[in-house]
Structures are given as C-alpha cells and as structure tokens.
C-alpha cells in the first residue's frame, strides 16, 4: 500500500492552513475566470506564473490545480444561466442547460453540474492516482492515424443528432465545417481575406457565444413587441428524487468518456462532452425532452469535462507531457522551481506530487461546498426583466469576445456570427451540428495531414495502427446495423403494403 501511505502524507501536507487557503483562492479564481468568456484557466495561470518567485512550490501548484478544476466548473454556470459558455468544454452544457433554466429549472441544472463535476473529478483523480504511471507509457503510442479514426467516429456519431430534418442538420454541419476552415493552419490561407487577424481561425468560444447568446438576444429583440413577455417560472430550489435518478448514470458515463480522452495527448475536453451528450440523448427514456431541457444533457457533459481535466494530469505527472494549454503552464511552473519534470517526477518528488493529488480531492470538495448553496441564488438572476437581462447578456458576451485579444475586429466577428445564429433560428437549423463541425473539422484535417505527411502520402497509413483498425470496425459495424435496420423497416412496410393490397 505504498501509494496509499503517500496519499495520506499528501493529505497531511495539503491540510495545512496556508495550503488550504491557496486551494480556496485557486477554486474561487478558477470559477471566476471560468465564468468570464474569453479569459481561460491557461491565461490566468500564465499571468500568475510570477508567484513562483515567492511562494512555496506545493502551495503554488495547489492553487494552480484549483484554478484548473474551478475553471472547468465555472464555465458551466454562465452556459446554463445566460447561454454564454465561458470555455469550449462547456459549450455543450449550454444546449440543454439553458433550456432547463428557461423552464425554471436553473437550480437543478446548476446542481447536477456541480455534483456531476464533483463525482467525475473525484473518480478521475482516483483513476489518476491508480493508473497514472502505467497509462502514460501507453498513450504516446497512439499516432495521427488513430486520432483520425476516433474523430471520424465522432463525426459519424453526429449524424445521430442531426434532428428531425436531415437537410437542415447537414446544412448546419457544413456551415460549421466552413467556419472551421478559416485560418492558415495548413500553411495555405483559407477564407482569411488577406487579414492576419483571421490567420489563427475563429475561436470556438466566440462562435458558440455568438450563435447561442447573440443569436438569441437578436431573436428575442425582434419578437419582443409581438408577444407578451412570459416570465420565467420560479422553480424548486433543489434537485428532486427524480432528478437524482436521472442524473447519476450520466455522471458515471460522462466520467467514462472524459477521463480517457483527457489522458490522450490529443484528446481534449470538447470531444468527450458531446460524445456524452449524444450518448445520453440516445439512451434517454424520453428522448423527446432533449432540446427542451433534459437534465441528462447537463449531467453527462459536465461530468465529462471535469473527468478530462483529471485525465490531462496523467501524461503531465507521469511523463512531463503537457497535453493542454493549461497543463503546459503548470509544467512551466514546475520548471521555474527547478523541479525536473518527466518520467522521474513520481520518484524524485513524491511528497509534492501526492500533495498535489490530495489537493485535487480537497479542491473538488471545496468547489461543491461553494457552488451547491449558490445554485438557487444564481437561478434568481433569471428573474431580471427580459430587456435588462438580454442587455446584460449582450454586454457580457461582447466583453468576453473583446477580452481575448482586444481587437474591435473580434466584436465584428461576434456580430456577424450572431446574425448567422439569428438566421438559423429563423429557418429552424439545429445548433449542435454546427458547433461540432467547428470543433471537429479542423482537428480531423490536422490529424489527416499529419498522418499523410509522415507517410509521404501513402493512404495505407490510416489503418496502420491497431486502435485505428478497431475504430473502423466499430464504424463499419454501426453502419451495417443502421442499414440492416433500414432494410428491415423497408421490408416490413412492403409486407404491410402487400397485405393491405391483398
């Protein structure tokens, strides 16, 4: 029980008043920056790097971990309440979360997000403690062909959420893929119109905030005078027994998606959130509730993004490999203390590593304690009369878009995509395929170019890795299943027709 003893030692070290204080500051700051669209945990940590000059290593790292977890958590609050996701990993949360809030169930949405984050974060950290050293050496073996296959599977899964009209669904998906083309990531400028301001592409948070919040504000503004104001009902402050029953399975499934994707060097937090969403939508007892505020659609993705945050620490601690921007800054903090990161970290700095791990448990608990009582309070925000509420949302969204880079140009992009959002509402295009297109398109392309560049253009490289082959078999199986189903219904219909005729 070597690791258990070490973990206990870590707890002892993390429970000093100073370190607890740093954990508290960390989760509070993290929640704050998670709430603000535009300022992410990575940037916050980078701005706080100078504290490594004067603060103990353990304390600083505890605070940094708190910011990381807090940021993952805080992003969900504005997603649910205002439809303005603060981070890319909480974009999916907005889809059902905000619908719940409009139906007077904001407190439940916030609570299931809080508890789900806690559950996922805790399980994720536990998995991290158990498997970090073993997992890490395996994950680097996955190359571009495997990621390409995984992303293809994800794109395939999108077809399950295209909505009732295939045409509208695909239109939205292709608009998303087109937005994803902007930039010079392939070396060729595409849709940049000669402006270096567009060279890095359009940030997914800007797209989501524009489509969700700006689009909706414009929609409401254009209908305000024609329809009487319906006031958002005041709901129950806490989760009911039914809510609990509908939430716990999505929490666990979300964790199962989030952790492995977080541990994969090119996995990320966005992919598992919408895989979780799609899964919940397929498994739900009453799928017609999706799109009108289904609690499963909040519980799953929120668990997934926190579990992925824990997963990210696997390659970071076990191999010194940063897989997200935030992890890269944490690594810098290690280095500025002169701590050797890399495979030897668990052996050379056991106390520091285990204190950090213990502080993750503490940080998670703090987040729950802080946020659960706040849920009903936040929910009251929606009682603000609509004109003021939407004015506030517009202000908040613009501030977020502007604060990323301090360019008026970004506000223009926000407005243009906001108008697109309005048009999509007007013509009934579903939002999710668009968002998924923006996220998946560039990544799919990047992995494909990398795989083909390494193989000098030989296409056979795409099935050269076992993981890739397995994923293709799954896709083929699913295709066969769907086609089989289609043929069977067709035959049944034909038979019925014959019977009717006979």
């Amino acid at each position: 029980m070597g690791s258990f003893d070490l973990l206990m030692q870590g707890f002892e070290n993390a429970f000093t008043p100073t370190n607890l204080l740093y954990a508290c500051i960390g989760v509070l700051l993290g929640t704050a920056v998670g709430v603000l669209p535009g300022i992410g945990p990575a940037m916050t940590l980078a701005l706080l790097l100078p504290i490594t000059y004067s603060v103990e290593p353990a304390s600083a790292l505890i605070m940094f971990a708190g910011i990381y977890y807090g940021g993952m958590y805080g992003g969900s609050t504005t997603s649910i309440l205002l439809n303005t996701p603060g981070e890319s990993s909480s974009v999916v949360t907005a889809i059902e979360g905000n619908k719940m809030a409009k139906a007077g169930r904001a407190a439940q949405a916030l609570a299931t997000a809080a508890i789900g984050s806690f559950v996922a974060g805790t399980i994720g950290t536990l998995l991290l403690v158990l498997f970090a050293p073993k997992l890490a050496t395996e994950v680097v073996k996955l190359g571009a062909p495997s990621y390409f296959a995984l992303l293809l599977l994800a794109l395939f899964a999108v077809t399950a959420v295209l909505g009732t009209s295939r045409l509208r669904g695909f239109t939205a998906l292709f608009i998303g893929l087109a937005i994803g083309l902007v930039g010079t990531s392939t070396g060729q400028p595409r849709l940049t119109f000669g402006s270096p301001l567009l060279a890095d592409g359009i940030d997914i948070v800007v797209v989501a905030v524009a489509i969700f919040a700006i689009g909706e504000a414009l929609w409401v503004a254009s209908h305000l005078r024609r329809r009487p104001l319906d006031i958002i009902p005041v709901g129950q402050p806490w989760m009911s027994r039914d809510d609990w029953g509908r939430s716990w399975k999505p929490w666990l499934r979300g964790t199962a998606f989030g952790f492995p994707f977080g541990a994969l060097p090119a996995g990320g937090a966005e992919l598992p959130t919408f895989l979780s969403y799609i899964t919940e939508r397929k498994l739900a007892k009453n799928p017609e509730e999706f799109g009108h505020g289904a609690i499963e659609g909040v519980a799953g993705p929120e668990a997934a993004n926190n579990a992925s945050a824990a997963g990210t620490l696997v390659p970071l601690l076990a191999m010194g490999l940063p897989t997200t921007a935030t992890a890269a800054v944490i690594l810098l903090a290690f280095q500025s203390y002169g701590i050797e990161t890399g495979p030897g970290l668990f052996d050379s700095q056991p106390l520091l590593v285990w204190t950090l791990l213990a502080s993750l448990f503490i940080g998670n608990t703090l987040l729950l304690v802080l946020n659960l009582p706040l849920a009903p309070v936040w929910a009251k925000l929606l009682q603000i009369p609509r004109p003021y509420l939407y004015a506030g949302i517009l202000f908040f969204a613009s501030l977020g878009a502007y604060s990323v880079n301090f360019q008026w140009f970004d506000l223009l992009i926000l407005l243009v995509i906001g108008l697109l959002g309005l048009a999509m509402r007007r013509f009934g295009l579903p939002v999710l395929p668009l968002i998924i297109g923006v996220i998946l398109g560039p990544r799919l392309e990047a992995q494909l170019t990398e795989a083909l560049a390494i193989s000098s253009g030989k296409v056979s490289t795409l099935w050269s890795e076992p993981v890739a082959v397995i994923v293709y078999v799954i896709i083929a199986g699913a295709l066969l299943f769907i086609m089989g189903n289609g043929v069977r219904t067709l035959l049944r219909n034909n038979n019925q027709k014959k019977k009717v005729l006979a």
């Binding site: 920056v33 603000l36 070396g187």
Partner: protein, 331 residues
C-alpha cells in the same frame, strides 16, 4: 490614446488574476513617482501568456521594475498569426515614445509566411537580449547515434528522414532543419518537416516514435533527456550547453551556427532621445544581478547587443530568413 485605453480594458478584464498575483507575491509595493526617469512604459508581447516571448518579456519587465530602473510596465499580449498582428501594430504605432515589444526569430519568419509587409527591419532596434540553441533530438532506440549517421542517411534519401518541430513554417524549429539541409547540400524542398503545436505534442510524437528527428530547443525535453528516453545528437550554437551532454554541429563536422534569439524593438519614427533612453534602460537592466539570475533560472544564453549592432544583425537575419523561405516557396 486608444492603445492606452485598450490596455486599461485588458487590465479591467484580468483584474482579479492580477490583483491576486500582486497580493500573493507580496510585491505590490508602491514604487516610483512620475518623474522623468520613471515614465510608464508599455511592453507588448506577440504571443500568449506562458510562451517564449512572454517569459522573456515578463522577466525583463520584472527585473526593470524590481531594480527600480523604470516605472511600472503595462504588459499586453497581442495575439495572432505567430506575431504578425503584433508586428503590424508596432509599425502602426509610429512615433509612440512609450512602447517596446519583445520579439524574436519566429516573428521574422511569420511576417513572410503570413504575406505581410510588416518587416521587422522597419522598426527601431533597441536590444537583443538572449538566445536559445536548437537541438537535434532522437528517440532512445533511434538508429542514428551521431550527427554523421543522420547526415549519411539524410543525404542518401532526404525523404527517408521525418523531421518534426514545435513551430509552424517560418518559425525557428522549421528554419533550423531547412538551413541545415542547405548547408549539407540537400534541397530544402526535399526535407520532410511535420509541424507540431509546440513542445508537448512534439515530445509525444518523439516518444511514440512517429517521427525520426525532432528539432527544438532542448530545455523543453529536459526530463526526457535526463532519463534517457530521448537523446540529443547535437546542439546548434557556437558552444556546447552546460546542461546538455551533446556536441555542437561544428564539432560534428557541419559548418553551421543557428540560434533562436529574442530581443526588444520600439516603433519606427521615435526621437533619438527616446531611442537612447530605451537602449540605456535595457543596458542597465542587463547589468543587474536580477537579470543574470533570470538567465540562469530559464537556461537562456546571454546575447546582449544594442542599437546599431542589433539593427545590422536584424537586417542580416531578415535577409537570411527571407531567402530560406523564398527557396521553399513560402515567401
């Protein structure tokens, strides 16, 4: 003064983080008055917090403030197109006497690959501060044991060696293998270069043996080099590094020196007075113990040069990068 207002908006945005940083670091000491020797300056940084220019720029301002050489700095990260956006903005701020920008080799190439006219040689050179070496890094089980092995295989069939780097075309990790190829007589166009999104993904690719050789600064691989999972064949500078057990390229029979440098520029069209003030400011900074400590802490090599000497160097670099990229059809 829109630029100043922009900084204020930015400060408002991150006020929480900054306030906490100041309180925590207990360095929020009120200092300096508004006398001439302590004018407020802006430091622009052409990449995101935590990146190379950011670390250098923030270290420099930190030392300047700490040694009481300058008043407080307002730091702004100007993101976009690997520094092209920032470079453009610096040239647009013609005559502004309170702005400096940290930049380096990557920005020189980025303006070409982004087809911008914002050449670095148009700005006012203030000082070159530091340089980093590049390294040729291979996985533990690589068949290449020395630079000679690698060069032999590379010359025989350039396509048989897959090289990966942490920067996009035009950046240091890309320019290094291209100039190396040209030096040893390989057509740079034949070089198989895979760009990765920074040191993390590059390390992953090397450990997973997806690529044969990595070109990057060795500091990002310290842990892996130390435990033996990655090996360094050679470093690119004029002299060996203290903390990396590897020969220089010259010692290995390749006549080439390549360094990834960083320095400070001011907008074009500033008065001689301002230029001299800024040069003196960074010269004084260079002499402080604090700056020497920063160099050691970050593993940077001192490469201090000012004014005209830096300006000549800048022009030479600009031409060298341009010719490499033109040969590749990227500029």
């Amino acid at each position: 003064m829109t630029s100043r207002r922009r900084v204020h908006a930015r400060l408002a945005g991150v006020i929480l983080a900054v306030a906490a940083a100041m309180v925590l670091a207990s360095c929020g000491v009120t200092r300096g008055t508004d006398d001439e020797g302590h004018r407020r300056l802006q430091m622009w940084i052409p990449n995101s917090p935590g990146g190379g220019y950011d670390l250098t720029g923030r270290a420099a301002t930190h030392v300047l403030e700490d040694a009481d050489l300058a008043g407080r700095f307002e730091i702004t990260n100007v993101l976009g197109a690997s520094g092209t956006v920032a470079m453009q903005r610096l040239l647009n701020a013609k005559g502004a006497n309170d702005v400096v920008m940290t930049m380096g080799l990557g920005v020189v190439g980025a303006v070409y690959t982004n087809e911008s006219n914002a050449r670095v040689s148009k700005a006012t050179p203030i000082a070159r501060l530091i340089e980093d070496q590049e390294a040729l890094i291979v996985p533990k089980d690589s068949p290449y044991k020395t630079v000679e092995d690698l060069m032999a295989a590379w010359k025989k069939d350039p396509k048989s060696v897959t090289i990966g780097g942490g920067s996009s075309p035009g950046g240091p990790d890309h320019l290094f293998p291209m100039q190396l190829a040209k030096t040893v007589g390989i057509d740079p166009k034949a070089v198989k270069y895979i760009p990765y999104d920074g040191g993390g993904p590059l390390t992953t690719a090397l450990l997973g043996e997806k690529i044969d050789v990595g070109t990057s600064g060795p500091s990002e691989f310290e842990g892996q080099i130390k435990d033996g999972s990655l090996r360094v064949l050679a470093v690119s500078g004029g002299e060996r590094l203290d903390n990396v057990d590897a020969p220089t390229l010259k010692e290995s029979g390749v006549d080439m020196v390549f360094t990834n440098w960083r320095g400070v520029l001011a907008p074009p069209g500033i008065s001689d007075e301002t230029r001299d003030y800024l040069i003196k400011l960074f010269t004084d900074m260079h002499a402080t113990k604090g700056w020497q400590a920063e160099l050691k802490r970050n593993g940077w090599i001192d490469a201090f040069a000012t004014g005209d000497e830096f300006g000549t160097f800048l022009k030479e670099q600009d031409q060298r990068v341009a010719s490499t990229l033109k040969e590749l059809g990227l500029a």
